[in-house]
């Protein structure tokens, strides 16, 4: 990997957040809190890690990014548009009648989307499948799956984690956007995940616990050589980047008012 240019990543992250804000304001719907917590992860992957080609999005040996937390679709759409998978103008159609940009992503309608996620606990098994697939295809393709932390309450994730550990998949990285909140309340109050690191360790995974907004940590977690599947527990802030949204459960899917939009725009533009 070329020397990390964190400026490039942070610029992309800022642009993603701006597009997310605008898109959700236009549509009057979206999951802004989770979009902002996952933004730096997506910016790092798309700036400096993923081998993907917007001109040839179905190339067989591409790296796979599977967004298991499909409700963060707007963050994914924004980064895909900014990287040239489809025109940025299309974001204006998000959630509008007959738009290709549904509330959850559809791989048959949106270039760069790998699977139709939305119901939680689906992306991880699919990612194990693409990782095994690239082994069978004898190519160097790697798979990244981004999981919400709340969705780890779904048992299917642990079926996938167990099997990936068993098969020692060295071309698979699971990234947990660990913002600590699920829709209604803090995860620790609903059905606590801790100790998350030990759970994955016991399933045969290499565990990295990092600041999910620190580009250098994200970069090394995504590019260091592997001897087993790696989970990156990215400690993130729900609503990251806009102070009045940060760590507030209500910003899971709240839509900013006109004043809130202006205030958020001002904050994000300076980043």
């Amino acid at each position: 990997m070329a020397a990390a240019n964190t400026k490039e990543i942070s610029d992309l992250a800022r642009d993603i957040r701006l597009q997310v804000l605008l898109t959700i304001k236009n549509a009057g719907m979206g999951h802004i809190g989770g979009d902002f917590s996952v933004t730096d992860i997506l910016a790092t992957l798309f700036s400096a890690v993923l081998k993907v080609d917007p001109k040839n999005p179905n190339k067989i040996d591409r790296d796979r990014l599977i967004l298991s937390k499909g409700h963060a679709a707007v963050a994914l759409y924004s980064v895909l548009a900014l990287r040239g998978f489809f025109p940025i103008d299309d974001l204006k159609t998000f959630a509008k009648p007959l738009s290709s940009l549904n509330g959850h992503p559809n791989r048959n309608k949106v270039p760069g989307v790998e699977s139709n996620t939305g119901p939680l606990g689906h992306g991880f098994p699919i990612a194990v499948g693409t990782a095994i697939g690239s082994q069978l295809n004898n190519n160097q393709s790697r798979t990244f799956v981004i999981l919400g932390d709340g969705e780890l309450q779904e048992g299917s994730n642990w079926e996938a984690a167990m099997f990936a550990g068993h098969r020692k998949l060295t071309n698979l990285i699971a990234v947990i956007d660990h913002n600590g909140f699920q829709q209604g309340s803090p995860i620790s109050r609903t059905n606590d995940l801790s100790p998350l690191d030990k759970k994955f360790e016991s399933f045969g995974w290499e565990v990295r616990v990092i600041n999910g907004h620190d580009y250098q940590s994200l970069l090394s977690a995504f590019t260091d050589a592997q001897t087993k599947p790696r989970v990156v527990i990215a400690q993130t802030v729900k609503g990251k980047g806009v102070d009045f949204m940060e760590n507030k459960a209500e910003w899971h899917h709240k839509v900013p008012s006109a004043e809130q939009y202006e205030a958020a725009l001002l904050q994000l533009s300076k980043q």
Partner: protein
Amino acid sequence: MTLSRIEEFDNRIIFAKTLIKLAQENPKIVVVCNDSIGSSNLTEFRDLFPERLIDVGIAEQNMVGIAAGLANSGLIPFVCAASPFLTGRALEQIKADVVYSRANVKLCGMSPGVAYGELGPTHHSIEDIAWMRALDSLTIVLPADEMQTKEALIWAANTEGPVFMRIGRFKVPSVSQGMNPAFVPNKAMRIIDGTDISIIAAGTLVSRAIEAALQLKSEGISARVINLSTVVPLDRTEILAAAKETKGIITVEESVTRGGIGGAIAELVVQNNPVPMKLLGIDTFAPTGSASFLLEHFGLTAINIVNSARELLNNGE
């Protein structure tokens, strides 16, 4: 048309043989299963292609998700698992990861219907057709015998898109002797022509429908027998021809009629050419008994089809 009961076949045998042949010809074909190597008859496949058989253990959601991922990688996964667990436990994965995503996954529901007999309703798969039929454009294939199983499998391997197939373990005689091809994709297959009444059956029960037609013929009733080896897409032309050209339709299935084959035919017929119908199937959880006993218990026999035909024709007059 005659039926020889001398030779009867467990369709899983030809299924496994054909899968091996397909895998020898096409390196993209892989198998995903759930600790079901034995019950899906995959031991030889595993020995020949150890890396291409992915046994996830007892984890159906993971199994179907992994298959969707393998399809995303350009491979052609055949998911081989007992039909009740494949379609019940992993229904949302089938919906979202396979059908809605249009992943090229072949879902092979082994030992469907009441094949597991005494193991009871937890292991019976009588709801699978209704569940799969509710999904948008998931092809559903129910081979009735050995030859159909083989040809349907070859077709599925060579056709892009998700498919659900039922692979029976209940031994059945050949119903497609002398028919070439034995399986025509997307078509209902008329096995016996007739003008008085139509019997539309699938899978295990096609041979019983034929027996019934032969009995009816000896009584002077001309029964048409249609093998509904493909339920989705439904062959509208053939079904509506049966509605127009005969006086009534009997459907015969090893599954619930609500949303099943009976439901599918009735929906089409009632909106286009209503005729008297009788739906034979399994609409309750089964009592204890062997598969063979249970088919009798639920009236899925040649004699009950004959009686139903007589009733339907008598009521119509």
